[in-house]
Amino acid sequence: MVNSGDTSVTPAVSVNGLSSGYGSVAVLHDVEFTVGHEIFAVLGANGAGKTTLLTTLAGLIPAFSGSIAYHGTDVTNLAASESARLGVGYVPQEAAVFPDLSVLENLTVGGMIGTRPHEERLEEVFETFPDLRSKLDLRAGNLSGGESRMVACGRALMQDPTVLLLDEPTAGLSPLYLELFFEKVAEIHRTRGVSIVLTEQNATQALGIADRVMVLSLGVGSEPMSADAVTTDLLREGYQI
């Protein structure tokens, strides 16, 4: 794990004074954090701006002000396709698969960039999500919520990302899938060396795998802190409950 305060290592993600939103409505206000080689969880209640933060980081909506850098390269307002080419994988919370494509096709569209052979990357995805191997021919639109989330995650992994943006990956999942998914996220970080930015409402589970945490409240981010240092009072304050 890299301590974000260690200035000798270029952070995987650097966000400085980031404000963004939709149209003229600002949702995020002056958010700042860095992510090293770690799992960084962004916690917050509904409407806190978690999805807006990740879609801005993915380049899908423009930043109003501030900057975003991946491994030291400024990508502020770079097209999403360019960010992806720099190694950013993105898994949205909703509509995370292409429903008309089969599972195999959903995975292969993730592998349109990069130079490693598809077969090699697919095998690695199957190692992480073995259940997908038997569902390759299925239409992705017919999968259950948990299966869809696996396909979406697998597709992002096919991009060979160095940074993975996961937007509430366990939202709406059954308790069985929920636990499995958090285990998979930790495994992806551990075995592939991918830096992960994860948004979650489920604070307890997220704190179980995260190295550091930022609480987002009405678009304003807290000072990032070690997951071990998070207290119930801090969360209550952040969630405004």
């Binding site: 380049g59 396709s81 494509l101 089969s102 349109m112």
Partner: protein
Amino acid sequence: MNLDWLDAFLIFGAFKVIEIMGLGLLVHLQLGLTRVANFGVVGFWGLGLYAFGVAYLKVDWPFGDVYQFLICAAIATIVAAAAGLVVGWLISDLDDDGTLVGTLGFATIVVILATTQQGLTGGALGLGGLGFPYDFGRVKTHEFTWLLITTAVVVLIFVYAWRVHRTPHGRLLIAVGANEALARSLGKSATAARLRMMMVTSGAMGLLGAMHGVMVRSLEINSLDVSVTLAALAALILGGTARVFGAVVGVLLTVALFDIVIQFYIPIPDGWNTQALPVAREAVFGAAIVLMLIFRPQGLLGQMRRPALMRRLHGDW
């Protein structure tokens, strides 16, 4: 070639069937794969028709018939493709409603230009003088040969559409159509993929327009009618927008039914062919669109069969 057994009107009816089938296949790539709702099909087709006609008739080409046709057809294709690129770029940020209005607006501009630029196009009177790029002596032989050549072009369009389904570009188009924001995060430009598709399909529509010009041997403003768009869309929606065979099945059940079966094989009263039947045809096509969208929006052939395709391509993984 002795074609006495063949009715000249039947050749023209078959030509219409083949032509609309080609347009339907191209609309399939736009609407079925990429979800670009092009209501201006007649605009791209008509631009090709008029670009071909004007280039053919207004330029003193120093070549024989074949080369003159090939160059003018290439001009028609390039002009329509360029229009597809520009229109595609203009509508790239619009939603479905905006795309419908934008493409319809483009078709209207083409019709207005064809009507008002009399010096070039002949305006409402039109221009005659287009011809076949060969001379076998008999008009019927010319037309039948042209029907075969057009069929070959439409077969090529079919093969292209068939192959697109099996390529990474095709998968990207389907991804862009289903969820453009997500597709943009895959590392490929969704806009570039859509513009490429618009350019290729619009160019092919222009080529079909040029081939129509050769068959009718004239530029007529009445040919730039909404019925061209309606026929292609009705057929595709009836057959199934997402399937390559959707356009083929749909055209057989609509255009072929009216322009061949009813016109030639059903005993209908004199005069109906020129008056009642065309009106009934439009009404039935419109009704077919409405009924299919209500009761079976995926069309007769249903959704894409990607799982079956994947099994064929990859076998058991």
